[in-house]
């Protein structure tokens, strides 16, 4: 078998020291990393298991009303934390629409941020993929690409980022705390993932050894709690990545949108923040016409990367729907099918 060193550090400092060595990879729950190792896409020489590092599994409420979530908090634990889901209902809804119940019980917050694209050509060693093997080409470009990117892609890579969780995080100005040999620094979630350009292999802003230790949501993000939704279109009700998705959060005062936050998922190599649309909405009365205009603006630069032109119109429509649902207000209880257009269908009793 492919032999590698397995290191279980006792502290963050030890972890970083170990992972700074070339060929190292962090391992948390492994829901993505181990799959990649099994198919040979990832062949690390050194696996640094951070899953037992102390102190990274806490949800801490900050004095200013923000929250700091340790990198090893499980997705399910965060989604079902009642204070968190009340303050950030759109984030909780996104978490519960991701993967399957079993995966959510295992997967960690930090690992979710660091998951790789599900592009089939990235996963297939016999295919050309600039993201996996720089300079080899992009077989997705002329291949099976109906679910690939429509925003921010380049000739070098048309992959999308698969996370649901990251979409509302990008919208709500979440910040990632990164520990490195040089000390701790903050990176805006929106700046964590990179568009491919000519270097798709550089997937994030992290350097070797950098370790995400926490995620922060600012107090201002909680001010959207009354009007926050995540909506996701998928080809089966659970255990499927988004065809397109949207996170919409509004602050409405006196019948007027004072602040809007909007991001799209499944459309680009990163969660796609739509700042232009947000600006358009600020000061407007929440109504279908302005939502449609915002949706149009959010997709203004979209272009198909293959057999996926339908995703552009679909993304516009899901933005409109997400804004409309956010305008109606956050539901009192989490829908039985979180983030599904069918959340209200009777008979849908279980979280999927």
């Amino acid at each position: 078998m492919n032999r590698f060193d397995y290191i279980r550090p006792a502290s963050v400092a030890e972890a970083i020291a170990a992972a700074t060595e070339p060929g190292s990879a962090y391992l948390a729950a492994g829901t993505n990393q181990l799959d990649l190792m099994k198919v040979g896409v990832a062949r690390p020489q050194r696996v640094v298991d951070i899953s037992r590092l102390p102190g990274l599994d806490r949800i801490e409420w900050l004095a200013d009303g923000g929250v700091r979530v340790g990198a090893l908090v499980r997705n399910a634990d965060l989604a079902y934390d009642s204070r968190f889901s009340q303050a950030f209902p759109g984030v909780a809804e996104a978490l519960l629409s991701g993967a399957s119940a079993q995966l959510r019980n295992a997967a960690t917050v930090g690992g979710n941020l660091m998951q790789h694209t599900r592009c089939a050509y990235f996963h297939d060693l016999a295919s050309a993929c600039n993201r996996r093997a720089p300079g080899s080409g992009c077989d997705a470009r002329e291949g099976e690409n109906r679910l690939h990117a429509v925003l921010g892609w380049s000739e070098h890579c048309i992959a999308t980022h698969p996370s649901d969780f990251c979409v509302p995080l990008a919208a709500l100005d979440a910040v990632v705390e990164v520990e490195s040999p040089a000390g701790r620094r903050d990176i805006a979630l929106d700046a964590l993932h990179r568009l491919p350009g000519s270097t798709p292999e550089r997937e994030t802003a992290l350097a070797p050894g950098d370790l995400i230790v926490a995620l922060r949501l600012p107090a201002e993000a909680a001010a959207f709690s009354a009007h926050s939704r995540y909506l996701k279109l998928r080809e089966r009700t659970s255990y499927a990545f988004a065809v397109v998705s949207a996170a919409a959060s509004l602050r409405i005062d006196g019948g007027v949108v004072t602040h809007a936050r909007l991001a799209l998922g499944g459309v680009a190599a990163k969660p796609w923040r739509a700042r232009g649309a947000e600006a358009l909405l600020a000061g407007a009365r929440p109504a279908e016409a302005i939502f449609a205009e915002a949706a149009k603006l959010a997709l203004a630069e979209a272009k198909p990367s293959g057999d996926n032109v339908f995703k552009i119109e679909l993304a516009r429509r899901i933005v409109r729907r997400a804004l409309s649902l956010a305008g109606e207000g956050t539901p009192q209880v989490m829908p039985a099918l979180p983030a599904s257009p069918f959340a209200t269908v009777p008979g849908a009793h279980h979280a999927a």
Partner: protein, 760 residues
């Protein structure tokens, strides 16, 4: 052979009655839920080696080099089989294996014909070493352009379709039928390649002892497979012992021999050690069969009253470059609707894929999907309700031949299904129904039909002096419930409580149970058990009637009935004798009888034999986003006598859920340049999750069939997928006004207003 391998039943089971007709819970259920049921890959004979096959990553070309030295140098690797050193086989793998085995790829040369074809087999002391050895082979290829779809595949005239069916059948004058039509509807339909994803991937543990071999493997056709393996290895059939007590799903793929399993058995003989091979999920996409893609055209002529004047169904069915298994899709139009003229035709298409094979309702599933949508389109053109339209074209006798049906309670299926579903009052026009949340609601229906084959089968029944019995046949429980249903039939024939009946099955050395396929296993193996039981009872009766000490002495002309371990004089319960007493007075420890079961050819020739059903579907569609959700399914099925309603319902539900999968989810996403399937795992190859499955009902419509076989049992295993796919597609149209003619139906099809046929 350890007794537990052939007899999982020792503890009493929870029962709600007795014998046939009762909803007994699975006799093997406790073993399964406690993890004590051993599947093939659970076996670990001493000294066992692990085999992993290296699969081609190209679809067409040649292997020019393999780094065998690197693989062999890896610690733990014992041997690497390639075309250079693969030991000979007694049967040419490039020739078909009678009666219906396919050509297999077992390293006979350097030629590559599909992705995931075995190009080497690495055998090692551990699974990890074998896996890494296979990865180190670093195959180099000369690549030829892959033929992957209708645009570049080679079309050819089919010699036969399915398992030996003619490629073309004509009844009546099709042109006259269309000339007489008041209107003609014509459309094209496309069904994709779908791949087997049984919970248990194929596996084998092979152990040789001289020229005898024991194979632990999931297998749907024990006797037949034992003979086929014997032919490949040049040994007598009785030297092959296949043990297959449990299968984690079969669905047709485990009825056929395949290259990887043969190679593992060959390696075990070569290395004189037991060898295990278990396919990975990804390796299922190639060498073990699949449902081939079809491109179908249906032309339907109707008169002013909405009656068919002509039905023309054509299918281009994909197969591999080197063997022929063509989905007999167009044959779905033969048995169902009355028309003075019916023409069904097939054409083959050669693609660089593994050879397709049977996959739950091969032909019927994809053919029914197209036919039922085409019928809906014709009903729409006639301005008729889809159910009324089908009733107007109800076939009283088999279309074309005029043979009577052995039984056909399809009218009852329509009536009961429609009543339960609440079909009455359905608006004819699409896009007329919304629910309170604003979703578009659509109702659609389809007719389900499946033939009733009978396979030769044998069984043995042994009555014991302690009042128990042993019954034996090499039946196969692939999850459908054969351990339970077959035992119920045997217990009934023997007049015993099922808990008194020890049932040996799942081993090829037992009397042949035939094939667990074609929805014919309960009828075939069940009839053999029934006959063996009756023969045993008859012999027991003869013993009693000849015994002056028996209350039944001298009653030979009157006859006896067997009940609760006693023989009763017919019509006189006051005279009876227990099995135990009869045998002990005769000084017999046991009494054994055997029987064969075959269908009477004269009865078979005189009747058309099918199970029937009607499936009603409700879907909800988001009017803006195009997302579809099946919200209700009601199926009503008539399949003769029902042995175990609990298990039968489970079969119907399973088929209907697969119908959801076919209609809305399943497709092998094939890269049209390379032929590689880009979604060969369960994360990306979608099948329904629980949350996709709506409230479902399966109504068991009573049906007596005096002709299909003496048990009156028809098949239930495959019919559930037929009808359902079309019902869902028709409901989608009714909700949206969009006729999706390409499966699976996707969000973009709804957004774009209907898929286009991608024919060349």
């Amino acid at each position: 052979m350890p007794p537990e391998a052939s007899s999982p039943i020792s503890a009493p089971t929870v029962r709600h009655g007795s014998n046939a007709g009762q909803p007994l819970t699975r006799r093997d259920g406790v073993l399964k839920v406690t993890g004590r049921a051993t599947y093939a890959a659970d076996n670990h004979p001493q000294g066992m080696l692990y085999a992993v096959f290296a699969g081609s990553r190209i679809a067409r070309g040649r292997v020019t080099s393999l780094d065998v030295a690197a693989a062999k140098a890896h610690p733990g690797v014992v041997e690497v089989l390639t075309p250079a050193n693969r030991p000979p086989l007694a049967h040419d793998p490039d020739k078909k294996m009678p009666p219906f085995g396919f050509r297999v790829d077992v390293l006979q040369d350097d030629r590559v014909r599909y992705v995931n074809q075995p190009i080497a087999l690495v055998v090692a002391e551990t699974l990890e070493a074998a896996t890494e050895g296979a990865a180190l082979l670093d195959p180099q290829y000369t690549v030829e352009r892959a033929r992957t779809d209708l645009s570049n595949g080679e079309r050819f005239a089919a010699n036969g379709v399915g398992v030996g069916a003619p490629p073309r059948t004509a009844h009546g004058d099709i042109e006259a039928g269309f000339a007489a039509a008041a209107r003609i509807t014509e459309a094209e339909y496309e069904t994709p390649a779908q791949y087997h994803n049984a919970m248990e991937p194929h596996a084998v543990v092979a152990e040789w002892d001289g020229d005898r071999v024991t194979l632990d493997m999931p297998n749907q056709a024990l006797s037949l497979s034992a003979a086929s393996y014997a032919a490949y290895f040049g040994i007598p059939a009785e030297n092959v012992l296949i043990r297959s007590p449990f299968l984690g799903g079969g669905f047709g793929s485990k009825a056929m021999l395949n290259g990887p399993q043969i190679l593992a058995i060959l390696a075990a003989r070569m290395l004189k050690r037991p060898v295990k091979l278990a396919l990975t999920r990804a390796q299922m996409y190639g060498p073990v069969g699949h449902r081939g893609a079809t491109w179908q055209t249906l032309r339907v002529g109707t008169d002013d009253g909405g009656r068919l004047t002509a039905l023309h169904h054509r299918s281009i069915s994909a197969t591999s470059s080197f063997d022929d298994f063509l989905e007999p899709a167009a044959n779905a139009s033969l048995p169902l609707y009355a028309s003075p003229a019916i023409l069904v035709e097939h054409e083959g298409l050669r693609l660089d894929t593994g050879t397709p094979g049977p996959m739950r309702a091969p032909g019927e599933a994809s053919g029914s999907a197209a036919l039922e949508v085409a019928l809906d389109e014709a009903a729409e053109a006639c301005g008729m309700d889809p159910l009324d339209f089908r009733l107007a074209n109800y076939a009283q006798t088999e279309p074309g031949t005029g043979r009577p049906f052995s039984s056909k309670a399809l009218r009852d299926c329509y009536a009961q299904g429609a009543a339960r579903f609440g079909w009455a009052g359905r608006p004819l026009e699409p896009r007329r129904m919304r629910d309170k949340d604003g979703f578009l609601v659509g109702w659609g229906m389809g007719t389900a039909v499946f033939p009733c084959p009978h396979f030769p089968a044998e069984a043995r029944a042994t009555l014991r002096a302690d009042g128990t019995a042993l019954v034996e046949t090499s039946g196969v429980d692939m999850g459908q419930g054969a351990w339970t249903a077959l035992a119920q039939i045997a217990a009934e024939a023997l007049g015993l409580d099922p808990d008194k009946v020890e049932f040996h099955s799942g081993v090829s050395s037992l009397p042949s149970g035939g094939i667990a396929g074609g929805s014919g296993h309960t009828a075939s193996a069940g009839l053999a058990l029934h006959n063996a039981g009756q023969n045993a009872i008859a012999e027991l009766g003869a013993l009693a009637m000849a015994d002056p000490a028996s209350p039944l002495f001298g009653t030979g002309n009157i006859g006896v009935t067997a009940r609760d371990g006693r023989l009763y004089l017919r019509d006189d319960d006051s005279r009876s004798d227990s099995y135990a007493d009869i045998l002990s007075r005769a000084g017999r420890a046991e009494l054994a009888a055997t029987a064969k079961a075959a269908r009477d050819p004269a009865v078979a020739a005189a009747h058309a034999m099918f199970s029937h059903g009607a499936v009603f579907a409700e879907v909800k569609v988001d009017p803006d986003l195009g997302q579809i959700r099946v919200s209700r399914l009601v199926g009503a099925f008539a399949a003769g006598r029902i042995i175990n309603p609990r298990l039968v319902r489970s079969q119907y539900f399973g088929g209907m859920i697969w119908g959801i999968s076919f209609a809305l989810q399943e497709v092998a996403a094939t890269d049209r340049r390379t032929g590689r399937i880009m979604n060969a795992d369960l994360a990306e190859y979608h099948v329904p999750v629980n949350a996709d499955v709506p409230p479902m009902e399966a109504i068991l419509v009573p049906e007596d069939d005096p002709y299909v076989n003496p048990l009156g049992v028809k098949g239930v295993g495959e019919i559930g997928i037929t009808g359902t796919v079309g019902a869902i597609a028709n409901a989608v149209w009714h909700a949206t006004g969009v006729r999706a003619r390409r499966f699976p139906i996707r969000i973009e099809d709804i957004l774009n207003g209907g898929a286009s046929f991608r024919a060349a």
